[in-house]
Amino acid sequence: MADLVLPAPSVRPASGQPVGRDPAWVRALVLILVVGFVGLFLLAPLAMVFVGALSKGVGPVLNALVQPDALSAIGLTLTVAAIAVPLNAVFGVCAAWAVAKHSFPGKAFLITLIDLPFSVSPVVAGLIFVLVFGLQGWFGAWLSDHDIKIIFAVPGIILATIFVTFPFVARELIPLMQAQGVDEEEAAATLGANGLQTFWRVTTPNIRWGLLYGVLLCNARAMGEFGAVSVVSGHIRGQTDTMPLHVEILYNEYDFVGAFSVAALLCLLAVITLALKALLEALEPRETGHGL
C-alpha cells in the first residue's frame, strides 16, 4: 500500500480530540483494566513462586536445591534439553531449507504436519510413545527381550520432549527464509560454491538470530515440559524425575518451600528466556509473535 503522505494537520472532530488518540478517561480505563488483568493473571503467579520459595528465608531454598533428588532432577532436565534441542535445531534448519528454498507439491500440507505437535495435548504426546514402546506396545515384547527400557526411563522422556518441541525451530525459520528468498543462494551456486559452503557462508549469517530465537523457545519448552514427560517418566525419584516433575512430587508431599524453590529456578529460566527474547526482537524486529 503506497501511502500518500500529506503534511495534514491532525483531524480534530468536534470533541477537539485528535483522531486515533483516545480521550484521557478511555486511556485510563483501558490501562487500569489491562494492568489489573495482567497483574492478576501474570504478575501475581510469578510473584507467588518467589514468595512461596522465600517464605522461610534463603537457607531452606538453597537446602532444597542441593538435595540429591533435586540435583538429579536438574541434571536430567539439562541432559534432556541438551539432546532434544540440538536435534530439533538440525531438523528445523533442514525443514526450513527444503520448504523455504524450494517449491514442490504438498508444501503447505508438509508445513501443517510439522505444526501438528502444537495441537496435540501433551498427555496424548506421552500416550503415543507408551503405545509404541510400552510393555504392551508395538515394540514392547522385543524391547523387554533385549533388556532395553524406553518407557519409564530416560529415552522415553527424551522422545516425548522431542515430540512436543518439534515445530519450534522450523516454525521460526520457515517464514524468515521464505522472506529472504533464494537470490543469494543462487548467486553463490552460480559462482561455484557447493551446498555446504552456500549454507555456512551465505544462509547462516542471514538466519542466525532467527535460529537463536527458535532455539531459545524450544529450550524453554523442553526444560519446562510437564504433561508428556509425566506420562512416560514413571516418576522414579532420583532417576526419571525432571525438574517440573520434581516440583509436582514435592508439592504433593506438602513440601511447599521445596516445591517453590525448584519452581523458582524454573521461573528464573523463564524470565531469562523472556529477556533474551526481547533482546533478539530489538536486534531484529519481527512481524508476528511466536512461540505457541
Partner: protein, 284 residues
C-alpha cells in the same frame, strides 16, 4: 516471490532450483517427521480402531468422559473468551499508548509461553486455595475458586493469555491511523470508526487468536491439575482422565479418549488455517 531465476528445465515434480540440498533436507525432514510425529501418532488411532465400535463408544462416550470433555471444552471456551476481551485491550494499549512499564508489560505477556506449566499450576493453586491470597477473599464472597470448575477457567485463562494479544497486535500496528482520520473526516464518530473501520480489520486475527487459545486450553494439563481438584464427573479434565486410564493400564480406553481429543484438535487446526486463508484473500 523474489527468486526471479531464469526458467530451468521443468521436472515433473518441482521447478528446478539452483539451490542445492533439496533431496537431502527434504529426506531428513520427512524421516524425522515420520519417526517422531506421524508413526507414533498413528499408534493411538490404530489402538482405538482395534477396539471395535461398541467398546470404543463405551470408553470414549462414557458419562465420566462426557463430563470431562464438557469441562475441558467449556472452561477452554470461557478462558478464550476472557482472553478475547482483555487480549484486544492489551494489544490496543501496547500499540496505541506510551506509558511507563510498557516494555515490561510487553515482555510479561509472553510469560505463559516461557513458564513451565507445573510452575504456573502450583502458583495458581496456592493463590486461589481457600487459605490463599485470592482464594480467601473469594471464599468470603461465597465463591469457591480452587478445586472447582472456576479454578480450571482461571488456569486456562493464564495459559491462553498471549495468543489473542500476539495475533491482534501486528494487525493493529499495521492499521494506519490515516484510515481512522479518513473515517472521522467523513463524519463518523469515534465509536462508529471503531465499530466500522477498526473492528472488521481485527476480526480474522482475533478469531485466530481465540481459536489458538481455545485449542491450547482443551489439551492443557500441567497448569490445571493442581488447581482443579480432579474430582471425577466434576473437576476432572479430559487429559487427566487419559492419565487415569493409563495408570490402570487401560490403554484402549485412554486411546479412545485421545482420539476424540485429537479429532477436535485437528478440526480446530483446520478452522484456524481456513480463517487465515480467508483473511489473506480478503485483506491481501
Amino acid at each position: 516471490m523474489t527468486g526471479a531465476a531464469p526458467p530451468h528445465r521443468r521436472s515433473l515434480f518441482r521447478r528446478r532450483s539452483a539451490v542445492p540440498g533439496f533431496g537431502l533436507t527434504l529426506g531428513v525432514t520427512l524421516l524425522a517427521l515420520s519417526l517422531v510425529v506421524l508413526i507414533p501418532l498413528s499408534s493411538v488411532a490404530i489402538k482405538a480402531a482395534g477396539m471395535g465400535w461398541p467398546d470404543f463408544a463405551a470408553a470414549a462416550f462414557s458419562t465420566r468422559a462426557l463430563d470431562a470433555y464438557r469441562l475441558s471444552f467449556g472452561a477452554a471456551l470461557i478462558g478464550a473468551g476472557i482472553n478475547g476481551v482483555f487480549g484486544v485491550l492489551t494489544a490496543w494499549a501496547l500499540v496505541r499508548y506510551r506509558f511507563p512499564g510498557r516494555t515490561l508489560l510487553n515482555g510479561l505477556v509472553d510469560l505463559p509461553f516461557a513458564l513451565p506449566t507445573a510452575v504456573a499450576g502450583i502458583a495458581l493453586a496456592t493463590l486461589y486455595a481457600p487459605n490463599g491470597l485470592f482464594g480467601a477473599a473469594l471464599a468470603k464472597a461465597g465463591i469457591k475458586s480452587a478445586y472447582s470448575p472456576l479454578g480450571v477457567v482461571i488456569a486456562l485463562t493464564f495459559v491462553g493469555l498471549p495468543f489473542v494479544v500476539r495475533t491482534v497486535e501486528p494487525v493493529l500496528r499495521d492499521l494506519s491511523v490515516d484510515v481512522e482520520e479518513a473515517s472521522a473526516t467523513l463524519g463518523a464518530g469515534r465509536l462508529q470508526t471503531i465499530a466500522r473501520v477498526v473492528a472488521p480489520a481485527l476480526v480474522p486475527a482475533w478469531l485466530t487468536g481465540f481459536a489458538l487459545a481455545f485449542a491450547r486450553g482443551v489439551g492443557e494439563y500441567g497448569s490445571v491439575i493442581f488447581i482443579a481438584g480432579n474430582m471425577p464427573f466434576r473437576t476432572e479434565i479430559a487429559p487427566l482422565l487419559i492419565t487415569m486410564q493409563l495408570e490402570q493400564f487401560d490403554y484402549a480406553s485412554a486411546s479412545a479418549i485421545a482420539v476424540v481429543m485429537l479429532a477436535v484438535s485437528f478440526l480446530l487446526l483446520f478452522l484456524i488455517n481456513a480463517i487465515q486463508a480467508w483473511s489473506r484473500r480478503h485483506q491481501g
